[in-house]
């Protein structure tokens, strides 16, 4: 284990997992409350086009994917406001088009394309020093903003009218959530891949919701579960020599399934105790 921690790529991957785990899981609370899972999935998939543009132009794929995804988030927001199309239709069209564009652009490069698999399913070997610096800086900035504006973001996720009545500008904060979410998802792509990254938004919070009895405990447990799943999955993927993103998601879904079974059994026992005996 100590030997493992001495490997530079593993150190970078562990730091990335620690930072991304808490960021994505915390954003996941707002995503599930506001029912934005499809938006998250769509933006993450479409980010492949941004990464492909970076690869083709020899610019940083991470930065180009960040810019592309944030612009896409703004475009989705604008179309939702200005067109009569449903949000699902807008995201569905943009996400498939973005992903298709990414595959076509990567295919334009000659020869075998190992990057494609890395972007699709995550590759911890691909996290470079400068990528890690960007991940840490942006994650801290987004987390600081979320913590500072937690009340406004929660209120908006609960009810738009109520947020407006409490003095929150719903349009401004909605756009900010979209952009922050797009940014956080792209940061997670190096570890999880575009296909699987949104799992960390959904799985930890869904697990914590099964037993949390307040928003405060939900927040704490979501972060704890996300960190455990990310670190546990990463280490397991190293020992099993399997793709990191896929193993992290499988660890997460196993934790969710076990919690769900335990929660259901406990609820059944409680109902039995409460029901009158004949």
């Amino acid at each position: 284990m100590i030997e493992l921690l001495q490997l530079p790529f593993m150190q970078r991957a562990l730091i990335a997992c620690l930072v991304l785990g808490v960021l994505l899981a915390y954003l996941g609370i707002f995503v599930t409350l506001r029912k934005m899972a499809f938006f998250s999935d769509g933006v993450a998939h479409a980010a492949l086009a941004g990464a492909a543009i970076g690869l083709l132009t020899r610019f940083s794929p991470l930065i180009s994917a960040l810019i592309f995804s944030m612009l896409l988030a703004c475009l989705i927001y604008w179309l939702e406001k200005k067109s009569s199309l449903s949000s699902d239709a807008i995201i569905g069209i943009l996400f498939t088009s973005g992903m298709a564009l990414g595959i076509v652009l990567i295919s334009l490069r000659k020869g075998y394309q190992p990057e494609l698999l890395g972007y699709l399913f995550g590759n911890i070997l691909a996290i470079r020093r400068q990528d890690l610096a960007l991940i840490v800086i942006l994650a801290i900035l987004i987390m600081a903003f979320i913590i500072r504006h937690k009340r406004k973001l929660t209120l908006l996720a609960l009810d738009r009218e109520m947020a407006y009545m409490a003095g929150v500008n719903p349009d401004f904060y909605q756009l900010l959530i979209y952009v922050m979410l797009a940014c956080a998802l792209v940061l997670g792509i190096r570890v999880m891949g575009v296909i699987l990254v949104s799992a960390i938004l959904i799985v930890p919070v869904s697990t914590a919701r099964l037993f949390s009895r307040s928003f405060k405990t939900l927040t704490i447990w979501t972060a704890v579960i996300a960190e455990s799943v990310m670190i546990g999955g990463l280490l397991l993927s190293y020992y099993l020599n399997l793709p990191s993103g896929a193993v992290i998601v499988l660890v997460g879904s196993t934790v969710f399934s076990l919690t769900f079974i335990a929660h259901s059994l406990r609820r059944q026992r409680r109902q039995k105790r409460q029901s009158p005996t004949n």
Partner: protein
């Protein structure tokens, strides 16, 4: 004394459809006003226009100012609060979300006022319809608003709870001087508990003191021939 609320020539249109046309009225301080009318008559639209939640033509002034400037003095209880009931949020956490400062609000008093003392730690999703409406009322009252808007706030409350809810509103109005404007379908409760009424059917049918403005003719105009005042005289 200037009126609390002035509405002049208010018109609201949605995609070519007119929801309200040329509505004008004023509301005086400390009154309880009911907005009545059949389904689709523009009652909720009127409230939403006053609160700036829908675009409108005309002029609306609250405490002689545009709404944005006086928003902290306004409380609002929506018709329904459609949130994910499995989300773990306690009553205390929910009410504190409206807090504009980092300090927590003293909730005991406001929960007691709406008859929800002891419910601070309960999950919002585990409350009954009536209890949730009372929590929404507490949520709207926590900043001690000068005017309170209720949009069919009694829709989830059973018949036994109705009178209690209206009594609470009346007490808040009498003891704290809160002006109340409510959209309601319960004509008998309106007759018993409100001072003034606004009768709407896309345009203003009548408005004035409840006992004089709520006539058989007005009710027939609003709800058709089957409506009469028999149910309203049991106070």
């Amino acid at each position: 004394m200037p009126p609390v609320l002035e509405v002049k020539d208010l018109t609201v249109r949605f995609a070519g459809c007119t929801a309200l046309e040329g509505v004008s009225f004023t509301i005086e301080k400390n009154a309880i006003i009911a907005v009545i009318g059949p389904n689709g008559s523009g009652k909720t639209t009127l409230l939403k226009a006053i609160l700036g939640l829908v675009p409108f033509q005309g002029e609306i002034r609250l405490f002689s100012k545009p709404l944005r400037q006086v928003l902290p003095q306004v409380g609002y209880v929506p018709q329904r609060f459609a949130f994910d009931s499995t989300f773990p949020l306690t009553v205390e956490e929910f009410i504190n979300l409206t807090c504009r400062t980092p300090e927590k609000l003293p909730l005991g008093g406001v929960l007691d006022e709406v008859g929800m003392k002891g419910f601070k730690g309960k999950l919002i999703g585990e409350l009954s319809g009536g209890q949730l409406q009372r929590v929404l009322l507490a949520h709207a009252l926590v900043h001690r608003p000068r005017i309170l808007f209720l949009d069919e706030a009694t829709s989830g409350i059973d018949i036994e709870g109705l009178s209690d809810f209206y009594s609470t509103i009346q007490r808040l109005n009498r003891e704290h001087g809160v002006t109340v404007m409510m959209v309601s379908h319960e004509i008998s409760m309106v007759y018993k508990f409100t001072d003034r009424i606004i009768c709407l059917n896309r345009d203003l049918i009548s408005h004035g003191e409840t006992r004089t403005a709520l006539t058989r003719e007005v009710l027939k105009k609003l709800y058709g021939d089957s409506a009469d005042l028999r149910n309203h005289s049991h106070d």
